[in-house]
Subunit: 254 residues, 2 copies
């Protein structure tokens, strides 16, 4: 289940999918409605809390973006004051029963799970997309608040970054999707505060089903920590255009 | 991959496993070394951020604890200043290569992932264990910072609570374990800030393997949101006693 940041990155990719030259530098690509307030911080750009290795990997991938084969995916914070009318429409369209259960007051405090930590304490990551190969690589630096077993990441934190990465791969390949299955094999525990590479790959599209696999490796690719497969379902294609417009319109200003 | 809070709950359960009468009220059960500083807040007890429904469910389950058939599992915050020597020993015993990669400074800031949010914004939960049936029920109230798709929980947040619940079931049944596989079917999205029940069940023990399944349901049990199976591996039994002692000794004071 993916959020607005993913939808915004999809917005950034729209130029590519419509045949325009790929973006060569990170940055937002869409206009906000004048009434909206968003945080414009792009979390996928280097921050002081990024380690030297994280920064190095970022620079290496940005180099690969120069010829257009790879694309940097920006990642904005969630809109603090969410447009409840748009969300009601979105929710009602697909989940009429669920929409009755949404607590509107709480919804206004909603923040994307993977961006709800203070800098450096939780999920620090940046994703790069290769359209020809239908791959996404996520460079992930996990913070000390993601601990499970003492000294290691919590399995749920790894599952979260896997879901975010394979989900983004499914979104850029298939539009608005939902996670239907996530099957994760934890092969080795990942030391707390490590930097790892999450390599995801679109394997197959069968009608409304998208199959995406991934692995989690050490930066030097010598240690395979985790492997996963996933199944995503495209939401009803008849409704998709409308939903895409709703979500994409909330991307940050150019 | 489970943390110290789980290990502490295991400490609380030790009396039961050794034939002592089951605990009838929540509360810490072990002594700290005098040099340790911990937060003694038990997050599994009612807080102002708990909704009326969450509180009602807590009271219902506490009633069930009165005859000893169910046991309330306490959940303490992580120790802020971790005993690095103990952790080094723990880590080195099972993962000698990984132990070299642990950043000791970062480790001292380690916090259990599911308890690293401010009250009410992230994971609010309480678990109850039925020893005869080898079941755990987790009452979970997710906060607004766990958002994925607008208005719904992030799949990673659901995966995290599933891992925590099935993992606790594996720990109380098998001692110190690690998640080897987690296979999750997301059937319906869960509205943000919902309260749900996570019902887990130990299905089988085969040597060092423990199979645990679970589902996530609405409080009235009318909506099945998610189903999952999991596989846990007991860590080397020869080393287990030593590790148990190390971890259990850090439980909070009586």
């Amino acid at each position: 289940m993916l959020g607005r940041c993913a939808a915004r990155a999809l917005g950034a990719l729209r130029g590519l999918r419509e045949g325009a030259p790929p973006a060569r530098s990170p940055g937002p690509s869409r206009r906000l409605l004048s009434s909206e307030k968003v945080s414009e911080k792009d979390h996928s750009l280097p921050k002081p809390c990024w380690s030297k290795d994280m920064r190095l990997l970022f620079d290496q991938f940005m180099k690969k973006c120069e010829d257009g084969s790879w694309i940097h995916l920006p990642s904005y914070e969630d809109i603090a004051t969410q447009r409840s009318q748009d969300f009601s429409t979105f929710i009602h369209a697909y989940f009429p029963t669920a929409s009755e259960q949404i607590n509107k007051e709480k919804l206004s405090q909603g923040r994307i799970f993977t961006r709800s930590f203070e800098d450096g304490l939780g999920f620090e990551y940046v994703m790069f997309y290769n359209d020809a190969e239908k791959r996404i690589v996520c460079v992930f630096q996990g913070g000390p608040h993601l601990q499970g077993m003492p000294g290691f990441f919590h399995g749920g934190a790894i599952a979260t970054m896997i879901d975010a990465t394979v989900g983004m791969n499914a979104i850029v390949s298939g539009g608005i999707v939902m996670t239907a299955n996530l099957n994760i094999n934890f092969k080795r525990p990942i030391p707390l505060c490590s930097i790892v590479l999450i390599n995801s790959q679109l394997d197959k599209i069968e009608g409304r089903k998208l199959l995406v696999s991934c692995n989690v490796q050490s930066v030097d690719e010598k240690i395979l920590y985790t492997e996963a497969t996933s199944l995503f379902i495209k939401l009803n294609p008849e409704k998709e255009f409308h939903i895409k417009e709703l979500v994409l319109n909330s991307a940050p200003p150019a």
